[in-house]
């Protein structure tokens, strides 16, 4: 069978024209086989699919798996349109390639709760295109019209003749087929996999300890490093004496890097011990006085002064002067660390230093393209000469989409010029004190109400730092960044006049996006404020919200759903209360009701009901899990989370003083999904914002105490 080998997918531009999201099906990934190797060549119709003659369907994952289940939900989409055998799917992590870029920033990023919604069209097209080529191959081989053939479980069947072949058997012939310019996607009623509960594909790897996280990377000759960093933000190393450290067992090298002093040893523990023996002198660059109490005091002063007008819809003061009552409340939230279970780490091998080519980076990252470019720049290579392998992430939450690739850059400096691979590990204390925090933020909000308690005008003034990550992405905020007012311009309640002001502050403390970003504080402020308004109006908080959402049926449906789920209005024991909150974020809307018991100063969150509308849930099980996860993550911050600084030093260091929710204070959570059919939204983050105000509002219902600062404390 002498067939001429052809390119599988010649013209990506043509294919791209068919996509509604402008997401290109990349086509530059080819089979490695040359002429004459056709029969054993894998079928790689695009960058996401590889089918080998043994009928193994491999789906390439271009996003980072950090618990949000893209390892399952993205292959699911491809498998659906391809009619692959879901039970036999293999998933492979992609390399760094423009083919896998997130179009918004032309780089690989896993973040912003965007993976499923921005991949949905492209992955469906990828699967459907491959299927069409397999069908065309079978049709040609059997002399049957392609339209008559059916596919299921990686097998093509001709129902008239009963003839059938596996995808693997047709792979070589499919590779010779013309790439269809247009393919028909399944109508949703024909989905066999998508829209149904699908368990994770990575469970077995993770319950047997076989999943390789960044910290688990092994390599011949691997060395281990830790870095002694400045005890204050922005400090610069003045001098150091490594003689004691160098004399310690296992220590191979001590070297200065831009962030401090790296100790490289033959084990992590020996590196940690030797680091303790370093004698370091730091120039604190004037940051040795940073104090979060003082910062907060300054924020409070700024809250009394006019800020930059972000949105001005009218004369608030004039309306307020005529109002029946004006609520004036200040809400404060602290810096927060992400505290991923897996401390930051990155392994770099500068292969060029020992006669090889380029370098290898193995890391759990949410931002491959930027991290690789950063490492390449430091090591002195072209980005393409650096092989970056994405490992499983032991949590991300935004921290592994690091501003200026901090932990990757540092690891590159540590390994630069060294003949062996070096794994740079952050201890828990390094990680907790390493900055890139959710910014400390204050909102002063005033809400003018009419005699019936309905809002007439709302004035919100926010004080806080910008997020450093935005600057890295080239969005240089001048007077405010969008995270400071996230969601407020589009807030759903009927308010005739909404004015937004911002004071953007600066400090030495570095800041970053933290799961749900600005919504972590804007939702807390808004949903607490409107709860206060409901009580001021003498109206049930659920009814009050419903009365201000006439134009927003999706919000109404969700509130009615959690009202029903939670038995809202039922009689509760003394000291127990329900609180509700709703927030739209990352294209999805989530309503939550929390049941809280207050006894003395102890706050127990007993139960949370959650209703989520993400438009359409590709994997409802995965979505429910993300809601549970987002709720617990937010709850840790609501009950305990707080990074404070005294004398420039972060006071917290580990889970003993940066507490998080454990199993015995984790509430039971019930989640229901409303598939509204609206545009698809995100899943990873939208569960988090409502839990802060839902719990706070429940504390008020339980105790009559209105808490406006996080973490919640009754003392």
């Amino acid at each position: 069978m002498a067939m001429k080998r052809r390119e599988f997918l010649r013209d990506t531009a043509v294919a791209a024209g068919a996509f509604t999201l402008g997401f290109v099906i990349p086509g530059k990934v080819r089979a490695g086989a040359g002429e004459g190797a056709v029969s054993s060549a894998p079928f790689t119709p695009n960058a996401f699919i590889r089918i080998t003659p043994d009928n193994q369907v491999t789906i390439i994952l271009a996003k980072s798996e950090m618990g949000q289940s893209v390892y399952t939900s993205l292959p699911l989409i491809v498998a659906e349109e391809l009619d692959a055998d879901w039970q036999a799917i293999r998933v492979e992590q992609s390399k760094v390639d423009p083919a896998y870029n997130w179009p918004a920033f032309q780089m690989m990023i896993t973040g912003g709760s965007t993976s499923v919604r921005t991949s949905w069209e492209a992955l469906r097209q990828a699967g459907a295109t491959a299927r069409a080529m397999l069908l065309a191959a079978a049709a040609a081989a059997w002399g049957a019209p392609a339209a008559r053939l059916v596919t299921a479980d990686a097998t093509i069947t001709d129902p008239e003749t009963g003839r059938s072949a596996t995808f693997g058997e047709m792979a070589a012939a499919a590779a010779q087929q013309a790439v269809p310019a247009d393919v028909t996607l399944k109508s949703p009623d024909r989905f066999r996999l998508v829209g149904k509960d699908q368990k994770r594909l990575d469970s077995e790897l993770k319950v047997t300890g076989r999943a390789t996280f960044g910290l688990d990377v092994a390599a011949p000759g691997l060395h281990y490093a830790v870095v002694a960093r400045s005890p204050v933000f922005g400090g610069v190393l003045q001098s150091f004496d490594a003689s004691r450290a160098e004399a310690m067992p296992g220590v191979v090298k001590v070297k200065q890097v831009p962030t401090g002093v790296a100790v490289i040893a033959d084990s992590t523990w020996r590196a940690i011990k030797a680091r303790d023996a370093l004698d370091l002198t730091w120039d604190e660059q004037g940051n040795g006085g940073v104090d979060t109490d003082q910062m907060l005091q300054h924020y409070r002063e700024l809250a009394g002064q006019p800020g930059f007008a972000v949105q001005e819809q009218g004369d608030f003061e004039a309306v307020a002067a005529q109002a029946d009552q004006v609520i004036d409340a200040t809400y404060e939230v602290p810096f927060l660390a992400h505290a991923c279970m897996e401390p930051l780490n990155c392994t770099v091998h500068d292969r060029g230093a020992s006669g090889g080519e380029g370098a290898e980076v193995r890391v759990g990252t949410q931002m491959q393209t930027a991290d690789r470019a950063m490492a390449a720049g430091i090591l002195g290579y072209e980005p393409e000469a650096v092989d970056l392998h994405t490992q499983f992430l032991g949590g991300g939450f935004g921290r592994r989409a690091a501003a200026w690739s901090d932990y990757v850059a540092e690891a590159a400096h540590v390994a630069k010029g060294e003949p062996w691979p070096v794994k740079t590990t952050w201890t828990r204390e390094d990680d907790t004190r390493g900055g890139q925090y959710r910014p400390m933020t204050l909102h002063r909000s005033r809400l003018a109400l009419d005699a019936g308690g309905r809002p007439l005008a709302w004035h919100n003034r926010v004080v806080g730092q910008s997020i450093d990550g935005f600057k890295m992405l080239g969005m240089e905020p001048e007077n405010f960044d969008n995270a400071m007012i996230e969601g407020l311009k589009t807030q759903p309640y009927t308010v005739p006049l909404v004015n937004l002001e911002a004071h953007m502050t600066t400090s030495a403390v570095t800041t970053l996006w933290w799961r749900s970003v600005g919504h972590t504080h804007t939702a807390f402020m808004k949903e607490t404020l409107f709860d206060e308004a409901a009580h001021a109006a003498g109206v049930d908080p659920m009814d009050y919200r419903l009365g201000l959402l006439e134009a927003h049926p999706r919000f109404v449906a969700l509130l009615k759903k959690v009202r029903e789920m939670s038995g809202w209005g039922r009689e509760l024991p003394a000291g127990t209360g329900l609180g509700v909150a709703i927030e739209e974020s990352f294209g999805s809307i989530v309503a939550e009701v929390a049941q809280v018991r207050v006894k003395g100063q102890k706050i127990s969150v007993e139960k949370v009901w959650c209703a989520a509308d993400v438009g359409f849930a590709v994997n409802p099980l995965g979505l429910r899990e993300q809601m549970e996860s987002g709720i617990i993550f937010g709850l840790s911050a609501a009950l305990y989370g707080e990074i404070t600084l005294k004398k420039g030093r972060v006071e917290q260091g580990n889970f003993n003083n940066y507490r998080v929710v454990r199993i015995d204070d984790a509430p039971a959570i019930e989640v229901e999904i409303i598939d509204s059919g609206a545009a698809m939204g995100g899943a990873g983050e939208p569960g988090t914002p409502p839990i802060f105000p839902a719990v706070g509002n429940a504390i008020f219902a339980a105790s009559g105490k209105r808490l406006r600062s996080l973490p919640f404390r009754l003392s």
Partner: protein, 160 residues
């Protein structure tokens, strides 16, 4: 100083300082990276292993304190196939990022060995030393119950 260590039924001689935490011997010296580093101060449970069947925080256990007692890590939990706990974990779709799960599985296995039919309160008490930042606690509770069921069904079937 060479020390003898028995891990997953295998004898090893390791040349480390006696105060080296068992965790780092397992991970860096023996290459058993299924046991995780999370906090280093016995706060999070990611490093949980069994010593003679009892849970131990390997990050705070000097290797010299182990002596000739048998160490079991996640890699050695089952000689053949998946344990009831692991099966239940998969059935209940417990894991998310998965980083804490070696420790969670080891803690649950020890709990069930000591208490084959734990209540929710028993589970909370035994598992509270294992942190999960993804917040899969609800599914851990369910999966421990499920593992207990699987074990009970097995022992009935086996007439044991």
């Amino acid at each position: 100083m060479p020390l003898n260590l028995t891990v997953n039924g295998q004898q090893h001689t390791v040349d480390v300082e006696p105060d080296t935490p068992l965790l780092w011997v397992l991970r860096d010296t023996l290459g058993l990276t299924g046991t995780k580093f999370g906090c280093g101060i016995a706060q999070c449970g990611a490093c949980t292993v069994h010593v003679e069947g009892k849970t131990v925080r390997s990050c705070r256990t000097p290797v010299s304190a182990v002596g000739n007692r048998a160490v079991t890590t996640i890699e050695g939990l089952s000689a053949d196939g998946l344990t009831h706990v692991q099966k239940a974990w998969i059935e209940e779709d417990v894991v998310q990022c998965g980083y804490c799960q070696s420790g969670q599985v080891m803690a649950a296995a020890a709990l069930l060995a000591a208490n084959p039919k734990p209540s929710d309160a028993d589970i909370d008490k035994a598992m509270r030393r294992n942190i999960c930042r993804c917040g899969v606690y609800q599914r851990i509770r369910k999966a421990v119950h499920r593992a207990a069921e699987l074990a009970a069904a097995d022992s009935t079937a086996g007439g044991a």
